[in-house]
């Protein structure tokens, strides 16, 4: 079948099962946009390429399928660098097509030329500059294969205009769809890991049965490996408590007796402290991120480490494991469960974990997540808003968040009962992530209610994508926790810079969020007093034909607690002031 490179590209995306792509056209990618008109693929026209990237990420988070974005050369391509870096840090499968100037013009500083493969080398799993039309189907297959297997990640494919432009003879090509075997043979250096080493799994089983204070330290890799069910089996079999990192919220139900919630800089006291006092951390698809470990030298000093990960480079990167297991987490957990069952039925016993469990319940009782109730006339407490929202939506609602205090409160106060219901920017911490990510998630899961929780600072970075959402009839809901500040930065300035507030004030009413929402085709609602919270949420939940933005005016003085200050160990966790004084170390960071 004769076609041109542009048609071949769209055909290849269809063959890979692409149902939707997010993008914005321009000169260099124009020829590829023509066959989009004849394609089964739904194209969502964004208002800024960063939006396209985060939408693709949100889509991938919610569905597990790779997100696809397409943009033009030069500024279109550089605008999507942030989402690529974001997807790289959080291992999100994503394929990004960028237009490029014609081959003959590459290197001449042609109009809208930029070396996007050079720029994105450090923030993609891999990237390609395609040099002939015939290569297009193979490269697209390679891109999807790389993005979705092993440790997932973003892959960029840069396409020079001349090989897709039907007016250029160089774009003429046949159609040759490579087989799986051909794709694998074309990537001789790529061998994603599968099962873990059986000996390592046996050693892990032995350590697990011998541990007195074990903790399952579960990271986002569990979700990537679709291993939530296997994890539950492991936890229930061994009765070991589970912490779910910021990237793993929902991988294990918050309502489960064994769930301890989120560890880390703003984790709850029990999750942080039980890791810290543990004698065995079973790290599954987690990467000992600095936001989890605190000062590494003082992290979980008595713990032996079992570390299972699909990426060998994570094993020993931060903390040397006693038992490293390289492979797919789901397969490793399944094998581990089998090994444990064999040992248990052969009569293996575990030490009495009664003292450990009562220590844990003691912490849970004394230091639950809590905030001070508002005094009469105070502005809204952000945590209270989140509790209302949490209790007013279906359990399988998808929650996306921006970056800052609101993100931490959302992760802390939500009750995640299902995997793939929490979408946030963990590794890169990208402000502006939530609105487009929520849109992408809603496109992927139209059956689900999708809320974005955003800060006023974040919202101003990518809000224009609500125009996209209105135009495309994607009814997401946004809760802005408007504290009139870059709140998280304000918190640090309050705590660590002697309340010297430098460049963090934003204003509560500039812009007018309700008018802005309305101008973008959304319903806009403002909430200023506690009595208005519930009716506003109910109203938003009832609207399903357009996006809704609810602006909550929240207390700018509220801080996120607990907190492990940067550079301190997890022993120095600071609980909120009203909880201190129970013999807890409150650290030196001071309030």
């Amino acid at each position: 079948m004769d076609m041109n490179g542009g048609q071949a590209l769209i055909r290849a995306l269809e063959m890979e099962g692409t149902e939707v792509m997010f993008g914005l056209p321009g000169g260099a990618i124009l020829p590829v946009y023509d066959p989009v008109l004849d394609s089964t693929i739904r194209h969502i026209l964004v208002r800024h390429e960063q939006g396209a990237g985060h939408m693709a990420e949100g889509y991938a988070h919610a569905t597990g399928r790779p997100g696809v974005a397409m943009v033009t050369s030069g500024p279109g391509a550089t605008n999507i660098v942030t989402p690529l870096a974001d997807a790289y840090m959080d291992s999100i499968p994503m394929v990004c097509i960028t237009g490029q100037v014609p081959r003959a013009a590459i290197g001449t500083d042609a109009f809208q030329e930029c070396d996007i493969t050079g720029i994105t080398q450090a923030v993609t799993k891999h990237n390609f500059l395609v040099t002939s039309a015939d290569e297009i189907p193979l490269v697209i297959r390679q891109a999807f294969h790389l993005a979705t297997t092993g440790r997932p990640g973003p892959v960029l494919v840069d396409i020079p205009k001349d090989i897709v432009d039907p007016t250029n003879p160089a774009s003429a090509t046949g159609w040759d769809w490579p087989t799986d075997a051909e794709v694998e043979a074309s990537l001789p250096g790529y061998h994603p890991a599968t099962t873990g080493d059986p000996e390592a799994i046996e050693r892990a089983a032995e350590l697990i049965l011998a541990a007195e204070r074990p903790v399952l330290y579960v990271g986002g890799g569990i979700l990537k490996a679709r291993a939530a069910e296997a994890l539950r089996e492991l936890a229930e079999l061994t009765q070991i408590r589970v912490v779910t990192t910021l990237m793993a919220r929902g991988a294990f139900p918050d309502g489960h007796d064994l769930c301890l919630g989120m560890p880390g800089m703003h984790g709850n006291y029990t999750a942080v402290t039980s890791m810290q006092r543990s004698d065995l951390l079973i790290a599954l698809g987690a990467r000992f991120d600095d936001r989890v470990t605190g000062k590494v030298a003082g992290f979980a000093p008595e713990a032996k480490i079992i570390h299972a990960d699909i990426d060998a480079a994570e094993l020993g990167k931060v903390r040397r494991p006693d038992v490293p297991i390289h492979g797919d987490c789901r397969l490793i957990i399944e094998d581990l469960v089998a090994a444990l069952r064999r040992r248990l039925s052969a009569g293996a016993t575990t030490p009495d974990r009664g003292p450990w469990n009562s220590q844990i319940s003691g912490w849970q009782e004394r230091y639950p997540l809590a905030y001070e109730p508002p005094a009469e006339g105070d502005q809204l407490k952000p945590q209270m808003v989140l509790e209302h929202l949490r209790d007013s939506v279906p359990e399988d609602t998808i929650l996306a968040s921006g970056v800052g205090q609101h993100q931490m409160w959302a992760s802390q106060y939500w009750r995640f009962q299902h995997p793939y219901t929490w979408i946030n920017s963990g590794g890169l911490g990208t402000m502006g992530f939530s609105v487009p990510a929520a849109i992408g998630a809603k496109v992927g899961r139209p059956d689900r209610m999708v809320w974005a929780v955003d800060g006023d600072g974040c919202f101003q970075m990518t809000a224009q994508e609500l125009v996209t959402a209105s135009a495309e009839r994607i009814p997401v809901k946004v809760a802005i926790l408007n504290n009139a500040y870059l709140g998280m930065v304000r918190q640090w300035q309050e705590m660590f810079y002697e309340e010297r507030y430098s460049e963090v004030y934003l204003s509560p009413d500039l812009p007018d969020y309700v008018k802005w929402a309305e101008s973008m085709g959304c319903v806009g609602i403002r909430v200023e007093s506690p009595e208005e919270i519930q009716p506003a949420i109910d109203k938003a939940n009832d609207i399903d034909d357009r996006p809704v933005v609810v602006e909550f005016r929240t207390d700018s003085r509220e801080k996120v607690f607990p907190m492990v200050a940067a550079g301190t160990t997890n022993d120095e966790i600071q609980v909120p002031p009203f909880q201190a004084g129970h013999g807890v170390q409150t650290g030196e960071g001071g309030h």
């Binding site: 080398q121 450090a122 500059l129 001789p188 250096g189 060998a312």
Partner: protein, 192 residues
């Protein structure tokens, strides 16, 4: 570059990595960038196609302690175009380097320079009334010594290739960063 030989107990800092890669544009920059990103110095780097023109071999000498090296090697291994990485223990490998040098050699000292070149088995490539261009191929330490001996005469220009290396016959290509302990029992004599 240190001139003294390593003493027992010195942390090993110079590592020779032999990296087999797909022979495509951009691969070298991906490899080099990984070192640059962590601030590690590449001492030398040599790259050329192998017996199979689909692949190239990069011999890279890096200045880094073993623990961070392990991390770099694992990161290198993640590069899609990298096929295989091995660390070459100097005791188990054959290493060579080529040097081109132009030295001052006025008629009064020319004899001494020529004599040095003969002792080191170098070659004279070009002569003018006050300069000589020489080449020398050999083990990198020999090349170091030659360069040192020429220095007093006045080096006008110098270019070294950086080392290239292969495992000795009978030695296995170790996986990178495997703690190499015992050299192979029998190996072919390192002729030359």
């Amino acid at each position: 570059m240190t001139r003294r030989d390593a003493l027992p107990g010195d942390p090993i800092r110079h590592h020779v990595l032999s990296v087999l890669v797909e022979n495509r544009s951009g691969v070298l920059s991906r490899v080099a960038n990984l070192f640059a990103r962590r601030g590690y110095n590449i001492v030398s780097l040599a790259v050329a196609p192998t017996e199979d023109e689909g692949f190239s071999r990069i011999t890279v000498v890096v200045d880094v302690e073993s623990a961070p090296l392990e991390q770099i090697v694992k990161q290198l291994d993640k590069l899609i175009n990298v096929i295989e990485i091995s660390e070459l223990d100097p005791r188990w490998s054959v290493e060579r380097e080529l040097l081109l040098v132009t030295v001052s050699a006025t008629p009064e000292v020319r004899g001494q320079v020529v004599e040095l070149a003969q002792i080191f088995e170098g070659r004279i490539l070009a002569v003018t009334h006050d300069e000589l261009t020489l080449s020398l191929e050999g083990h990198p330490t020999k090349v170091d010594d030659f360069e040192e001996m020429l220095r007093p005469f006045g080096i006008r220009e110098i270019q070294r290739t950086g080392r290239v290396a292969l495992p000795r016959l009978g030695a296995q290509r170790g996986p990178a960063s495997a703690t190499a302990s015992v050299p192979p029992e029998a190996h072919a004599a390192d002729i030359a």
